[in-house]
């Protein structure tokens, strides 16, 4: 224990050198910027910056890249709240209540709560990594295909909770999401499925055009429907800062979100992303007033924001202890480490303790810097919402199109964006929430792959899912959650239909 403390202090000293602080700041700034610009994600940015990092000491390079990674999470929630664009799959949930808060004139408090929840979660996750990284890595190894499949089942059940309105339409959206995710190359045989011979579809539909289309473009079309409502903010812009009541409401959600994010973050392959959905679903279930969710509940911003930041940071654990990158951005950082002659994996902690502890300690500074950068910006973002809508929406559309195009330099993806935009509008008119669809879309391929892999490894024995203890526990949890949802909602569903306008 004392040893860890000593190492951590060493790490703080390394991270606090002026040069490393500077790179941490640069990383946080770039991250915020790309998070705010729709489309250009951290993967592309880190890839573009890799050559520059060749000339930096490895610790500084990784501190900067890590800053970009979690900075993008911050920036992503800004666009989710202001204009309903989920930049990253983890900020989809932030759209639900964050954007509603903005529409109600509470963009300022939403942004501030998002930043502060992330800060608290970031602090907690840093100490959590420092203390428990090695044993947690062993825990991640316990998750095989069967366990992942059961986790995804639980995730999909939780997706029903995300939606307001009828259960039937939520289920429909989940199934549609699963269908859409089936488009692409079959993982086991390499056969093309439902690609209609279009090569761009061979790797499936991209997440960004789908999410941006369903959320942001659909929203824009609806706003243009009524000339009178052509404003981003319906009401008067109230206070920029959260009220005392907001803070009081957020204590529980932030605590639970942080713990959930830290736990799920260590699972490579979707853990960090699931955590924001799970945290939101959990808060909605625990809340005494679940009706407030989806209408601008501050808890609905605090919980997923703390969960996704905690998850983003703890997803470094598998990389630094096992050499397993949890997502594409972290894979790029593994590449950067290799370029510097450091082999990511079990030996990083013993062979490169400076790098390991320096990187972890820099996350403390990075999180503080992000809040310092973001809090003053809130004023500016809120002002931006006062721009007349006739000027605002064309700019937004152009940004969306450029963002989607730059992902793969593909016009086809822009066409997909338009298609999903129209679909998103149709969903809004029909009163269907797109969030369960998006979650199912992301989880679908993981679920299918792990199902088939588990069955291949068990040689076709389906009982493997209940024989493995962790898998069984997750499935039982899923059944319990399903019952919990079904029981009250039969009575509730009627009420919800009347509430819709």
């Amino acid at each position: 224990m004392f040893d860890v403390f000593g190492h951590f202090v060493d790490g703080l000293l390394i991270a606090a050198t002026p040069m490393n602080l500077l790179y941490c700041l640069i990383g946080a700034l770039i991250g915020t910027l790309i998070g705010v610009l729709p489309g250009l994600g951290p993967v592309a940015t880190v890839a573009m910056l890799l050559p520059i990092t060749f000339y930096l000491p490895p610790v500084s390079a990784l501190i900067m890249l890590a800053g970009i990674y979690y900075g993008a999470q911050y920036g992503g929630s800004t666009t989710a709240i202001l204009v309903n664009i989920p930049g990253e799959n983890s900020s989809v949930v932030t759209c639900l209540d964050g954007h509603q808060m903005a529409r109600n004139g509470r963009a300022g408090p939403a942004l501030a709560i998002a930043a502060l929840s992330s800060l608290i979660a970031g602090f907690f996750a840093t100490f959590y990594i420092a203390l428990f990284a090695p044993p947690l890595a062993e825990l991640a190894l316990l998750f095989g295909p069967a366990e992942y499949f059961s986790l995804m089942v639980l995730g999909l059940i939780a997706a029903i909770v995300l939606a307001q309105g009828s259960i039937i339409s939520a289920l429909g959206m989940i199934v549609l999401g699963l269908f859409l995710s089936a488009i692409g190359t079959d993982v086991n045989t390499g056969t093309q499925r439902m690609t209609l011979g279009i090569p761009e579809l061979s790797d499936g539909i991209g997440f960004v055009p789908l999410a941006m289309g369903l959320f942001a473009i659909g929203d824009i079309i609806r706003n243009l429907e009524h000339p009178a409502h052509r404003v981003v903010v319906a009401g008067k812009i109230q206070n920029v800062w959260p009220t005392r009541d907001d803070f009081r409401r957020c204590v529980g959600p932030v605590t639970r979100g942080t713990v959930l994010g830290s736990m799920l973050g260590i699972l490579p392959g979707g853990g960090a992303m699931l955590s924001s959905f799970a945290a939101y679903a959990l808060e909605k279930k625990l809340s005494k007033e679940p009706d407030r969710f989806g209408r601008g509940a501050v808890e609905g911003v605090a919980a997923p924001e703390s969960a996704n930041n905690a998850g983003a940071q703890t997803s470094f654990i598998p990389l630094l202890t096992l050499g397993i990158p949890a997502n594409p951005v972290i894979a790029l950082m593994a590449g950067a480490m290799m370029i510097h002659g450091i082999q990511p994996g079990p030996d990083v902690m013993t062979k490169n303790p400076d790098l390991f502890w320096g990187l972890i300690a820099s996350m403390l500074f990075g999180n503080i810097m992000l809040v310092v950068i973001n809090l003053p910006l809130i004023q500016f973002w809120v002002m931006l919402l006062k721009v007349p809508y006739r000027l605002f929406y064309p700019a937004l559309l152009v940004f969306c199109c450029i963002g989607v195009y730059t992902l793969n330099n593909s016009v086809f993806e822009v066409a997909l964006l338009i298609g999903f935009g129209l679909l998103g509008y149709a969903f809004l008119k029909l009163g269907c929430e797109p969030a369960p669809l998006v979650l199912a879309f992301v989880l679908g391929p993981l679920m299918e792959e792990n199902l088939r892999r588990a069955l291949l490894l068990s040689r076709g024995d389906a009982l493997v899912f209940i024989r493995e203890p962790i898998s069984l526990a997750l499935l039982l949890l899923a059944i319990a959650l399903l019952l919990l949802i079904l029981l009250p909602s039969f009575r509730h569903a009627r009420g919800a239909t009347f509430q819709q306008d």
Partner: protein, 321 residues
């Protein structure tokens, strides 16, 4: 500011002009299309080369990721670009295997490209978890023969060298092991380390830290010669399977009908950038056996690879779509 840019452009133009006065190439930034996602081995390789080459030519060299369909989307984009030496693609072994596995690809892998140069090879290493009873290739074969149908091997790409390695191993030893496909090596390692998966051919780039850190046992390397990076790992051929060779290769291709002069110029410049210590050392460190050559050599090599893969695909029943 605008004035500054104008001055900078003027200076750049006057400085770079005399060097290439007789030569019209390069007249604008060069694009290297990487037909895979950012962050992979090929992407990092492309960026290393682009960086050195950009400095050599005083002309920006940009990497553009066009992922999709096992490299077909990006390669097709290169094939359709003008044959002026300003667009090339960084391809891997899948360029040859796609000829068999994806017969409906929109281009011919030989006729519709101009080979520029090979970059090098990366071998795969047959690894087993520490809990495995096998310590050598022969022990593994004996173990597999004693437990038919219970051993699974993973691979990150259908028809890739790691899949071919496994199928060749089955073919040459008569063992029965089942293939399980994953999306990338990073997904395979957790299952291997935990012992849920019994073996796989790990690419040297991603496998090195596990082998060096003694988290897995290395039974053999899939190249003809031992790797300088892992000199203690015997080749599969040494383990008793003479001539065993299943490696990944990397190369640069240009659009079809590039003029011989430009091809020669491109080959020279790419070889210079690849062999420069700042690139080559980094590539070797990650386990790549750097080998550049002429356009003709690369062309013949690709044709041979396609023929060899066609024969193998028939023998082991790898299906085209």
């Amino acid at each position: 500011m605008r004035k500054l840019i104008a001055i900078a452009m003027f200076v750049a133009a006057t400085v770079s002009q005399p060097a290439h006065a007789a030569d019209p190439w390069p007249t604008k930034p060069i694009r290297i299309i990487v037909p895979f996602a950012p962050g992979g081995t090929t992407d990092i390789m492309g960026r290393l080369i682009a960086n050195t080459m950009g400095k050599n030519l005083s002309q920006p060299v940009l990497v553009e990721n066009r992922a999709g369909s096992g490299g077909i989307v990006g390669t097709d984009a290169m094939v359709r670009s003008p044959s002026d030496g300003h667009t090339v693609a960084l391809v891997i072994s899948s360029h040859a295997t796609n000829a068999v596995l994806q017969p409906n690809a929109p281009y011919d892998p030989i006729k519709d490209v101009t080979p520029v140069t090979l970059i090098g090879f990366a071998p795969n290493i047959l690894v087993v978890p520490l809990s495995s009873p096998a310590n050598t290739l022969q022990e593994f074969i004996a173990y597999a023969k004693a437990n038919p149908g219970t051993i699974h091997y993973g691979s990150p790409a259908y028809g890739g060298s790691q899949h071919i390695g496994g199928e060749t191993l089955k073919l040459e030893t008569g063992i029965s092991i089942e293939h399980v496909l994953y999306r990338g090596s990073s997904q395979i390692f957790p299952d291997l380390l935990a012992g849920r998966l019994q073996t796989f051919f790990a690419n040297i780039v991603s496998g090195y830290p596990y082998i060096e850190g003694k988290k897995v046992k290395a039974l053999g390397i899939s190249s003809i010669k031992r790797s300088a990076r892992l000199p203690d790992v015997p080749t599969i051929a040494e383990g008793g399977l003479a001539g065993f060779n299943a490696v990944d290769w990397y190369g640069i291709l240009a659009p079809p009908k590039l003029s011989p002069e430009l091809t020669k110029r491109l080959t020279e410049e790419f070889a210079r950038a690849i062999n420069a210590p700042e690139t080559a050392d980094k590539l070797r460190e990650s386990g790549v056996d750097v080998t550049t050559g002429t356009s003709e050599e690369f062309g013949t090599f690709m044709k041979d690879e396609i023929v060899k893969f066609k024969e193998l695909a028939q023998k082991v029943n790898l299906k085209a779509e």
